[in-house]
Every structure is written in structure tokens, then in C-alpha cells.
Symmetry: C2
Amino acid sequence: MSGNCNLRVNLSGFWMPPAMLAKAKSTRVDNAYERLKAEILNGELPPGFQAPEPDIAARLGMSRTPVREALIRLEAEGLVDLIPRRGAKVLAISQKDICEIFEILAELEGLAVKKAAGREVPCFLMQELEKLLSEADAALLQDDIEHWAELDDRFHRLIAQTCGNTRLEAEVISLLNQVHRANRVLLRLNRAPASRADDHRKIFEAIRAGRDDIGSEVARSHRLAGLETMKRLLQSSGLSQV
Amino acid sequence: MSGNCNLRVNLSGFWMPPAMLAKAKSTRVDNAYERLKAEILNGELPPGFQAPEPDIAARLGMSRTPVREALIRLEAEGLVDLIPRRGAKVLAISQKDICEIFEILAELEGLAVKKAAGREVPCFLMQELEKLLSEADAALLQDDIEHWAELDDRFHRLIAQTCGNTRLEAEVISLLNQVHRANRVLLRLNRAPASRADDHRKIFEAIRAGRDDIGSEVARSHRLAGLETMKRLLQSSGLSQV
DNA sequence: TCCATAAAATCTTATCGATATTATTATCAA
DNA sequence: TTGATAATAATATCGATAAGATTTTATGGA
């Protein structure tokens, strides 16, 4: 058994329980989905990238059918656009898109924090949140904006996971995915954190203290402040799409 | 001219006879998608209904490929569950699902009304809203709960369309679809309107007057009150799923 | 020569029917 | 009853073909 074909690589880059990795059956559709999604999120497939299905299938080493099914899923998640007779295109994000998404995120993240503060959040999630906070502080001290951005993103995703509402969690994460690359590109231009760092700490403390009112309000205004930063960065960079 | 032609919004409400949709759609995938979606929403395919792909394909008179692609889209919208080696299953809604969805709807509908009140809503939409309000009044006077429920649903969908945020609109409509059958079934048991009728009027007036603060608050509490009604109906009916 | 139009070639998807794979069920011996 | 094994059923995937749009080429008139 030298070439273990069942060995699954976690391409999403996020932590998964070992059981999940072991059990996850590796179908070609799932494989194509995970690989394409990872490549879109990390920028290997940049916004605007466009290719016919056969090309993508060939690149992934499989036939068109599973690729097509993966693309349909990615389209439903707002990451690609399937243009009839033109192939699949990685979506670019405009200022309007960012406004729309951040406005929704402000409400949904506010709700997520409210729900999290109103329930018993599993201990390991709180510990993970706290770890992210201290690592982010450390990254800022070292001026490591790249790493800080990564931790910022993971904090927001983890918050979504604390709320206990699975649909809310999935929707927040889907929206974060849609703006993931725009976030990264603009922060790289900015070379500075896009938000007040202590907002995250406030949110964390509010959840721990069960202060749903404070928490949700901080989360909401945090996201709306982020929107203003994004708008400013878009203006100053002169980019119409990211 | 981006290729979002495949994202179609049914402006006339949400339900159309399959035959009509069949003619409008050119591809079999779209055809299968629209037909299955309509059948799920109107209850022809009830929650819990389950069938292997070949059966569904045979019923729709096409091969498995387009059916499968339609099912993947429906799964992404939370209407069906694709169970490996078991076929496609129409999702049933539990009390937990209703809680999750209504909580999110409360925030998103609140935001939608806030945005609608803060902008110039196209005249024909306001007229349509007003028409729905007076028709709903008339239906109540005649004790036509069935018709009232239909108008209530259409009001909520139309509100989503006034907000100007296309993602917000799509998400609200998707959530309304997921609870559509549950709504209908429970109202039929109840034989009475599930919410204070004048809430709708208040929301309409707030949008017209540009009072985003009032409008969003009424929309939010309206939905949360609806959640309580649903919970009560579920308890009294003894149903664990709808 | 230049432009408009028609015809042909090309390219890509949409769809099909068939096959390989694999989970589930049935069967049977210990 | 249990565990192994065979049979079954349904999917996952493939390769091929048809349909349809786009682009290119050919053609004829000014």
C-alpha cells in the first residue's frame, strides 16, 4: 500500500476533525470542488480567469462531468459564473458587490454574536478564539500584516461557528468567501490593519460575558467600519474590480 | 452584459404553471429545475418524498444528467437533500429549522426594509405592494385564509425586491422558499392569520415615508412574532416536522 | 478595393447511453 | 446469531454525439 489513494489533502486550509478527513469519501466531484474553491480563494485562479470546461477538466485530470457538477456548486456559492458557451469565469468583486455583501454581513455577524453570547459556546471554540486574538496581537507587533489578515479572517469565520445556527454559520462563511480575495488584495495595498484590533477583543469578551447587546452592536459596527475602509482603499487604489 | 442570464427572477410572484416555465426555458436543466422547484413549493412533491435519479429523470422525460444538475442546484438552495446511493429527498422542516430560518429572516427583512426606505423604490413596486395590502384586507373580510396566506407570502417576497441589494433579495427569497410549505401547512391547521395584518401596512408606510428606523424594527418584530406563532402551531399540532 | 451579407467551419456546451464503482441487501454456512 | 460472501441497486464517471452559437471565409455589388 505505498500509494495510498485515499489520503485526503485538506485543500481548504481550515482545520477539520481527523474523523471527517478519514471518513470523507473522495469522489471526483468533491475533489474538483475543493481544489477549484481553494485555488479561487488563494488567488491561483484570479478574478476574471475564464476557461472552457474541457480545459479545466484536463487540468484536473478528469472528465467534464464531475467538473461541471463542481462548477454548478461553486456558482451557487457566488464564486464563479457559468457563461453559456463561454466557459466558467471566476467572479470579480466590484465596489457594489462589496457594499452589498458587507451590509448583509453586518447584520448576520451581529446576529451570530448575539446568539453566541446567549448560549454556552463549546470551550475549545472559546480557547481557539482567544488564541487567534493573541496571535493577531503578536503579528501586529511584528508588522506582519499578511499574517494578521489571515488571523483576522479566521476570527470572523470562527465567530460564525460559535452561534449555534447552522444556516447562519454557512451563510456568513459563504459571504466571507466571496470577499476573501478582495480583502486580501486591498489589505496588501494598504499595508495596515483594516479595522480596530480591539473590536475583536470586545466581541470575544461580550460573548464570554453573555452580553449579547454589546457584542452584536460591536460586530455590526465593526463590519460597517470595514466597509468604509474597503471603499476608501478601492478609491485610492483606483481599482474598479478586485 | 455579464452572463447572469441563468439567474432568473420570476417577477410575477413565485409560482407559475410548469407548462409555462417549460416553454420559457430552453435547456433541460432549467426545465427540470423549474418543474421540480415548483412541485416542491406547491407540495406535489411533499417533504420526505424520496426517489432515485433514474425515476425522476423518467418522470421528467429526460436523461439523468440534466436532472442531476438541477438537483444539485436545488440542494444548494436547501430544498432537497442528495443522499449518496439513496436518491434525492425533499427536505422536511423541523422546529429547529424554522427557528434558524426565522431568526435570520428577522434580520435580513429588517435590513431590506431599511434599505428600501432609504432609497427611491420604483413606482410600480410600490403600487404592487399597495394592491397586495388591499387584496389581503379583502381576503380577511371574506375569511379566505388560503388566499390571505398567498398574499402574505407575496408581500414578503415583494418587500425583498424593493431593497435594491440583489444578494439580500436572493437570500431572503431563498429562505422564504425553504419555509414556504411549512407556512402553508401550519396556517391551514390554524385557520387564522399568523400575524397582525397592520404590520404589513406599517412597513409599507414606513418605506413610503422613508422612515428606515421604524420600518426595519416593525419588519424584524413582525418576523419574530411569526416565529412564536409557528412554534405554537407546531406544539399544538403535535407535528415534529412539516 | 471595400463593405455587407451569406455560407461554412469551428468551437463549446448540452445531453445521452454505457460502464465502472461501490454501498446496501440478501444469502448461507458455522 | 454471526460473519463472510454474493447479488443487487444506484451512483459516479466516462466518451460520444447533437445542437447551437460564434467566428471565419467566401461572395457579390458599389
